[in-house]
């Protein structure tokens, strides 16, 4: 029985990984100029800077698709951890305002420090994410009797709206308005190789750290009492998990802007597929998040080529119905 479950987890993880690889190849091949799979293959493994097709793959498509993969992984894993730790099925770094906090700081640093290096920007982005997280945690602990998950969600959404409108104001005031679409809904179209080299190891390490926390998070997701009885230091695990969430959200927002709903939708799918063991839910959420974002990015440049549609809005079109379904289900207990 135990073996059967592990087999099932393994199969789903493998399937998601294969799906991700296929999605990547598809997204790299199709676009304003269609390329054959063979051309993509040779561009990746035998890069020849003289060929236009190779240039398109190497300079335009591959960075943005890989950017979507990495940020999708980060948002997916962060959402899974937040849902596990807060036991709030509607938790997501976008909805709860963590992404917006990070985006606000990024907007500010674009305005005041336009020459800032990407590694510094990433650190500032962490700081923004950490501040927003702190604000939400404080609001939660300041309320006697704790927050119901719906109330926390509303509070987070309002904080997100405020920070978002602040970022928009900064962008308009400092004439960053050509990047307004970026602030509005995020996008991976601007991801560069240099950014990828920096953010990929950070995100991969953070996801591994998250998987190490998978066991205690599973117990936490069952309730504080049972976690304490099983010998888990609840406070410590919670702080650790939120730290990882802040790192994941901070890095991905600094590269792709604030994208909501990935971290909301994906963990629910993962739990439906393989159960509540977060050691498996976190990696599967990461893989599925990557698939979702690659497709969203693909769709956002295919709706009206050569124009680009905001990727965040693309994800929202999928995410909102799902959110409504969850709100309706959760509302029963209200």
């Amino acid at each position: 029985m135990l073996f059967g479950r592990q087999l099932r987890i393994g199969i789903w993880l493998l399937a998601a990984a294969v799906g991700l690889l296929l999605s990547i190849f598809l997204a790299v091949s199709y676009g304003a100029k269609e390329l054959t799979l063979a051309a993509v293959w040779s561009a990746v493994w035998h890069y020849n800077p003289d060929l236009t097709a190779h240039q398109i793959v190497h300079d335009l498509r591959l960075p943005r698709v890989l950017g979507a993969v990495v940020t999708g992984m980060a948002f997916g894993a962060a959402g899974a951890m937040m849902q596990g730790v807060t036991r709030n099925p509607m938790a997501d770094t976008g909805i709860l305002g963590i992404n917006a906090g990070s985006a606000a700081v990024v907007a500010l640093s674009f305005a005041f420090l336009p020459q800032i290096s990407y590694s510094r920007l990433m650190l500032l982005s962490f700081a923004g994410a950490a501040l927003a997280t702190l604000l939400i945690v404080l609001l939660g602990s300041a309320t006697p009797g704790g927050l119901t998950s719906m109330k926390l969600t509303i509070a987070g959404a309002v904080i997100a709206a405020m920070l978002h409108s602040f970022s928009t104001g900064v962008a308009i005031y400092f004439d960053l308005s050509q990047d307004l679409a970026f602030w509005y809904a995020g996008g991976v179209s601007g991801v560069t190789w240099a950014q990828l080299k920096l953010m990929t190891p950070v995100i991969m390490l953070a996801i591994m750290w998250a998987m190490l926390l998978g066991r205690p998070i599973t117990f936490l997701s069952l309730g504080d009492e049972s976690a304490v009885n099983l010998g888990i230091n609840v406070r410590y695990i919670r702080v650790m998990a939120l730290t990882v969430v802040v790192i994941l959200a901070g890095v991905s927002v600094s590269a792709a802007g604030s994208i909501s709903f990935v971290g909301l939708v994906v963990p629910h799918m993962a739990r439906r597929l393989i159960g509540v063991d977060y050691r498996a839910v976190i990696p599967l959420s990461a893989l599925l998040g990557a698939v979702l974002l690659v497709w969203a990015d693909f769709a956002s440049r295919m709706v009206q080529p050569p124009r680009e549609f905001a990727i965040g809005a693309m994800v929202a079109i999928v995410g909102v119905p799902f959110f409504l379904y969850l709100a309706r289900r959760e509302g029963r207990e209200l």
Binding site: A157, V158, L180, S260, Q304, F309, V320, A327
Partner: protein, 340 residues
């Protein structure tokens, strides 16, 4: 101290509050007229109004500042009263047309209008409020259906949550549609969603004016029903109010007010939340007392936000919606944690 005396006292207080707010509103209008690259002092404003100003002053005042200010005044009053009605009819103190997503629906209507007529200027823009109203009504309908529970009626917290989500979804669809049109419309939509007063022509004033000046007195006349709703459905129907019919008609009026207003000033949230709450504190809880105060507060807040947005942050203007959100957001959180 008998009951008549108390009633008289309350009425007097509401009257006083409204007068003070009216005075503040007039001062705000004068400051707003005086703000800009070329300044117009109150005295010069008076001269220009009497037709004694220079040609340049005349042009600045009547072609640039005044239409924008009149639109801001009308929209501020409209959104504030819409918020008051929504709060009264749904007995949800957090209700606000922006947070509930009605503004997002109106925005969708606006973009559909643009895709039909390809312009937002000229006489055809008289039709804009019809489109935004349709968008707002459809959105409101969706929100109420989704937050309705068969046993317990409309659930306040769920209504807010559904509204936030619907707002995000509809904004996304609106952006998608606007991108399908052209690059400029896309940028316009993004700034519209941030809440900027874009309408600057007299034709937009004449478009918005009938909606506000016809609906506001009507709502004031029906304000007794709003008081009945705050007592609860059972009591209201016991007293003899036809609960559901007057509730639906009042909600439609609220949607009409807010969608017509945001058609001209962009998706501005939180005014419909703050203005009625402050007015209630100042002028008393009965609707006939605080509705005028709420409308005036809406005018003052929106006018101040627009003036601050276009003056302090020179040379670039910050949308009024951004300024309002900076005050309105914390207030919303305060209410959320105080009441629920």
């Amino acid at each position: 101290m008998n009951i008549h005396h108390i009633r008289l006292q309350r009425a007097r207080r509401a009257w006083l509050v409204s007068m003070i707010l009216l005075l503040i509103a007039v001062i705000a209008i004068l400051i707003s007229l005086n703000t800009g690259t070329i300044r117009l002092s109150p005295l010069r404003v008076l001269y220009t109004l009497l037709g004694l100003g220079t040609r340049q002053e005349h042009m600045i005042m009547f072609d640039y500042r005044l239409p924008r200010i009149v639109i801001t005044i009308l929209a501020g009053a409209g959104i504030a009263v819409a918020g008051a009605i929504l709060q009264g009819t749904s007995r949800n103190s957090l209700a606000d047309p922006g947070v509930l997503g009605i503004h997002a629906g109106a925005g969708l209507g606006l973009i559909i209008f643009v895709s039909f007529f390809r312009t937002m200027e000229g006489s055809v823009s008289v039709l804009i409020p019809l489109f935004t109203f349709t968008g707002g009504v459809v959105t409101a309908l969706i929100i109420f259906l989704l937050s309705y529970d068969r046993q317990r009626g409309i659930l306040p917290i769920r209504m807010i949550l559904v509204g936030i989500a619907i707002s995000a979804g509809i904004s996304a669809v609106t952006l998608l549609l606007s991108l399908k049109l052209d690059e400029d419309t896309y940028t316009f939509t993004a700034t519209w969603l941030a809440g900027s007063v874009w309408a600057r022509d007299w034709i937009h004033v004449w478009t918005l004016l009938p909606w506000i000046v016809l609906i506001l007195p009507w709502v004031y006349w029906r304000s007794r029903y709003l008081d009945l709703f705050t007592l609860g459905d059972e009591l209201a129907s016991g007293i003899g109010s036809q609960v559901n019919r007057s509730r639906i008609s009042l909600m439609l009026l609220a949607v009409a007010l807010s969608s017509a207003s945001v058609a001209m000033v962009g998706s501005i949230g939180f005014i419909g939340l703050i203005a009625p709450h402050m007015a209630r504190q100042l002028a008393g809880a009965q609707h006939r007392y605080f509705l005028p105060a709420a409308a005036l507060l809406g005018v003052v807040i929106l006018l101040a936000a627009d003036t601050v947005g276009r003056s302090i942050f020179q040379p670039n203007a910050v949308p009024a919606g951004v300024v309002v959100a900076a005050i309105g957001g914390p207030y919303f959180l305060y209410l959320l944690f105080k009441k629920y």
